[in-house]
Symmetry: D2
Subunit: 390 residues, 4 copies
Amino acid sequence: MTDNRPALGVGMVGYAFMGRVHSQAWRNVGAFFDLPVRPVMAVLSGRSPDRTAAAAASLGWAAVETDWKRLIERDDVSIVDVCTPGDSHAEIAIAALAAGKHVVCEKPLANSVAEAEAMAAAAREAAARGVRSMVAFNYRRVPAVALARRLVADGRLGEIRHVRAQYLQDWIVDPDFPLVWRLQKDKAGSGALGDIGAHAVDTAQFIIGSLLTGVSAITETFIKERPLAEVSSGLAAGSNTDAKGEVTVDDAALFIGRFEGGALGSFEATRFATGRKNALRIEVNGSLGSLSFDFEAMNELWFHDATEPDAGFRRILVTEPDHPYAGAWWPPGHGLGYDHTFVHEVKDFLEAVAEGADPTPSFDDGLRVQQVLAAVEASAAADSRWTAVV
Amino acid sequence: MTDNRPALGVGMVGYAFMGRVHSQAWRNVGAFFDLPVRPVMAVLSGRSPDRTAAAAASLGWAAVETDWKRLIERDDVSIVDVCTPGDSHAEIAIAALAAGKHVVCEKPLANSVAEAEAMAAAAREAAARGVRSMVAFNYRRVPAVALARRLVADGRLGEIRHVRAQYLQDWIVDPDFPLVWRLQKDKAGSGALGDIGAHAVDTAQFIIGSLLTGVSAITETFIKERPLAEVSSGLAAGSNTDAKGEVTVDDAALFIGRFEGGALGSFEATRFATGRKNALRIEVNGSLGSLSFDFEAMNELWFHDATEPDAGFRRILVTEPDHPYAGAWWPPGHGLGYDHTFVHEVKDFLEAVAEGADPTPSFDDGLRVQQVLAAVEASAAADSRWTAVV
Amino acid sequence: MTDNRPALGVGMVGYAFMGRVHSQAWRNVGAFFDLPVRPVMAVLSGRSPDRTAAAAASLGWAAVETDWKRLIERDDVSIVDVCTPGDSHAEIAIAALAAGKHVVCEKPLANSVAEAEAMAAAAREAAARGVRSMVAFNYRRVPAVALARRLVADGRLGEIRHVRAQYLQDWIVDPDFPLVWRLQKDKAGSGALGDIGAHAVDTAQFIIGSLLTGVSAITETFIKERPLAEVSSGLAAGSNTDAKGEVTVDDAALFIGRFEGGALGSFEATRFATGRKNALRIEVNGSLGSLSFDFEAMNELWFHDATEPDAGFRRILVTEPDHPYAGAWWPPGHGLGYDHTFVHEVKDFLEAVAEGADPTPSFDDGLRVQQVLAAVEASAAADSRWTAVV
Amino acid sequence: MTDNRPALGVGMVGYAFMGRVHSQAWRNVGAFFDLPVRPVMAVLSGRSPDRTAAAAASLGWAAVETDWKRLIERDDVSIVDVCTPGDSHAEIAIAALAAGKHVVCEKPLANSVAEAEAMAAAAREAAARGVRSMVAFNYRRVPAVALARRLVADGRLGEIRHVRAQYLQDWIVDPDFPLVWRLQKDKAGSGALGDIGAHAVDTAQFIIGSLLTGVSAITETFIKERPLAEVSSGLAAGSNTDAKGEVTVDDAALFIGRFEGGALGSFEATRFATGRKNALRIEVNGSLGSLSFDFEAMNELWFHDATEPDAGFRRILVTEPDHPYAGAWWPPGHGLGYDHTFVHEVKDFLEAVAEGADPTPSFDDGLRVQQVLAAVEASAAADSRWTAVV
């Protein structure tokens, strides 16, 4: 039994939440999808030698580096997977592309439009050399979301009138929750807006296949100061200290907008929706039908076909062989979880690389989302005035 | 068996959709609630003698008038119930109050802030004379909505952070649906905004107990022209003609806003949400818990108490004896319908009249909603700029 | 405005829970349905003169009697509506039919098969004389249930394979709940089985259009003794006494069965399903599709059409103009309540009487349900042995 | 970074549906759980050399064998994972235990009570030698099911009155679906009863912590003959032939039963519930509260606490750090899928082996389920007569 497929070495930068789930994707993609290439989990990089080595052992990486620049230089690395906080995305991704490595980069693409523009330019230049890049908006690879896109593309909804997109969480409702890096503007760029609002924007634009052209927005920081923590990561922390620091990002962002083609959109991203744990909720209303999705029930897509008698929203369990991605897994009714979306993501990425095609979402798509986020911040800073997305 | 309670004659103006459901309320309220007064369905007025007489016979009114001014003059009328389109509310209600009649007036209170101000002034003046008035925001009397208000008032949600309020319908998605009066600005004042958005605003303000202070908005008319109909009412029509007329109201209105106390609000009213038939949906997130309600499942209130272990949104079937209004009806689990909310409305109105108290929502409450609608229209006309509610 | 329709005087026996809801039906049916006859709420009978008079005043009955035999003799009574406990159904209904009165009788038809047989025989004999009778299985008149029947009759489910029917309540979970008449075999005939199981059987047979042919059953009385109450009705009681009495009916009944045509059925009736308040739940699986209904969300029918792509259970809001009964009420999305089903019931009854047709469900249908209940009790008493329904 | 944990070599027999998902478990368990031992995916065995080699490469097994007896003999195998059809479980598992290998065996434990008894005896004898065994009822490891068990064990439901357990699928509704091995009694032992009914029985007994003592049952084979297939597996097939063969197992099994402690149970297993794809549904009613679960929404547990005011079934998203298994994975609200339950299963198994403890469910537990299945078949064959589980 010889495996004649070309091997592609992967080097991953960062091993926190995103690094763990990306590892799960690289480790398992080959067992479920018949790939034209063979991914090899070659190198993991992180700053602490001990902790990086422990993570590599547990997650299945063959080697470690403590400097991502070394990782990029390695001959056994063809793909660089960027799983760091947003403030280092631009530097790492641009360097990797320059070194001829294909790049998967976590979202949001960058912490500013300027950085995102530089990355998108680098990606376009690299693509001309056959070097591929993708921004990791994983929710496009939820089977239910991919099916939603297919139904819209097939015309089943008719002309799109309304999009309602919310990303609701509640993990910082407690004022004693500490000032983790995700609440600091210099590290995270923005708060709920960039962290989860970015997903809502990308997923909505993906499903209806058109872009936001302008927005009117408000943002709010409910808790202005939080305890500093001894040691902190993005999502959790060790014990708090007595000192407090300023929260420099938004706790919540709300905006209304218009899409190319005339649809209206209502968006909300918040970490203060008590009881909503990871509710990326999208509703689309068209002239012929409607869709509704909530990631908290990620295996379900609700579809209303107004052309049928006795219509009603039907709960499609998106686990059938002919549903996107689903056929590779288990029999109907056996649902998937959060991490499966990342398996789909690297599957699509590897196939694009093998075919010499540009995977989606591209860095340009990531830039476009960044431009929406910037327009939201600009509108919120200017009395909610209508602000074009540019 | 002598009934010693004072009788109160009711005169109703209009017998279309709202007139039918108000009649249902007057006809049944005495069978379920132990009232201090005895309502008598005295007179119905309408312009067509024949159709008014037929309606009176079917709905249970003892007499008819073809001029509402005559109805107001009658000695057997103590209460005037205004069920006409919004363009005549001010004239009828002000005249009735001047004549010393208690007034129930359908919503929106009026078609403009100026009219609403005049009505509110008349109501305040009348109240000083012991004459009562109420605007008929019936959704406050859905048991689940009243329970939501009680939970917030009891502090079960803590500090309120977010309100999401949508009123979604789909009855004019078809471009061949004719130009009924609800689509004409001179008759209806506005479109989805005033017809259903007004309910969303009032219900949200009622539940959280605080007022919107400012908004940023967009409105849209998706279908600019529609067929003229032979004969038309507010909701339906006879056969269409070949001629078309301009739609002069909004099809949809979206806005974001801020409440006294710091909560953020996201609002949407549309008649183009295919598959949503009468979805008045309200979500509230507070620091201690959350609520969710959808009128399409009107006997249910979803409540999340974040202070309990293994928390989750619980579906309260609001049919228990200790739930608002519910104890008067059937055993637990036997749900109520749309018309029951009007029974509760006239019950509360009659009790207030009997006690010499001012019922709620008052004309001032109706005015406040009107001011929100005006601010929405002003913001939408001014590049979505932030507009204070005044 | 002259009403030329013939008047039909109604005399109702009993004014407790069922009497109140039947009154609501008689009082309102004419306002929503265009009837060929005009029902007149003529007489209410009850044993206590004072309480009967108070009930008549509140519920809208013109006169009272304290002996049901007098009610039957009255010339102004054409229809007798029997709302008493099951132990008096046979005597009253047979006497009324003999007196030439049309009869509506609450369910279960009787407390024994023998009584039910006598009633069915009387009804057949009366029908030959043009005198009509109906047993009040009101759940057939839930619009969603009537739509379910229509979908099955139209072949949308194909060959029926499975029925799952449960009627779940929880009002006697507390062992201190007193020994009301519904827990006494001599008054109620049986417990959960006859009170609510009868509805499950009738509704299931109605929807799939075929009859149970045999069953295997178990029954249980979880709480063997309960406090005696000072004053008690069927559902509630005044203060308990210290004395206890034996519970002589079932708390729960479970059975499996087979229908004509080969479908399998699973049934359960219990008053110990904590948290289920009035959950009459029915699922039907056929070769082409499936249905699911729960009375706790009575305006919804869930329908799965296996012949369509991207199938799923769709939530039909049964409030459209072309849905059974729904068009007479409010616009789409404005739900109905428990009492509306009784309005539909008397509407169908009055139409049948006017047309000289036999309304359904007939006393024979009621007898058939009684035979199922008897087979369940016989099987439970004989080691769950398979017992034919005869 | 040295890993000082003892390595435990795993040998798996079979690589179809169950083999794929068990491989997923062995491959990933170490990345999420901090295990006291290090599992090594040593050997896969299957009859076809080529296909076994391909499966091993794709699923991550280091070596292959074409005879399971060779696999058992290997020194690098400490654990044997039996993923074959039920007719070979007894032989393989008993041999492996005799060879001193720990055994994980798929369910149902065997195709007959006699085989299961032999296996349980072997397991007891092996346990005395420190050799461990477990039957793979994976649904016990759904976090929501484990939480259900915890709530019952903590007394939150009070005295258990009712269990409703259904396992509903629809994959053989089409009469042209071929005669795969799961429809042949000699291979599969029974049909829906053993394949999915076994899960319903085990999960119900696990959650309430008590055993079924007797049952009354019916079974049915709706489609008596099916096409023979060119090549067939358990769940799917290549193209059909013209020839037909007899279906020798049940399509559906329904039974009612009693548990130790007095609870009543209603069970149903069917492959003809159109639209239900993998609906393992369990409801439990106790004197203080209730639970409801459906595997089609596997991350949710519905819990009703009757002791709280404004009670209702609450939807617990079982993804919190303090929920069973969930903390090892992703942040709250990021759900798990079908395969994660197998990761939990091997995690618990490995921990038990490392601790020298007997994992659960044991072969004795598997035997007990087999005895229930046998009682169901006996009752169905004897006029549904009550049959004790022995």
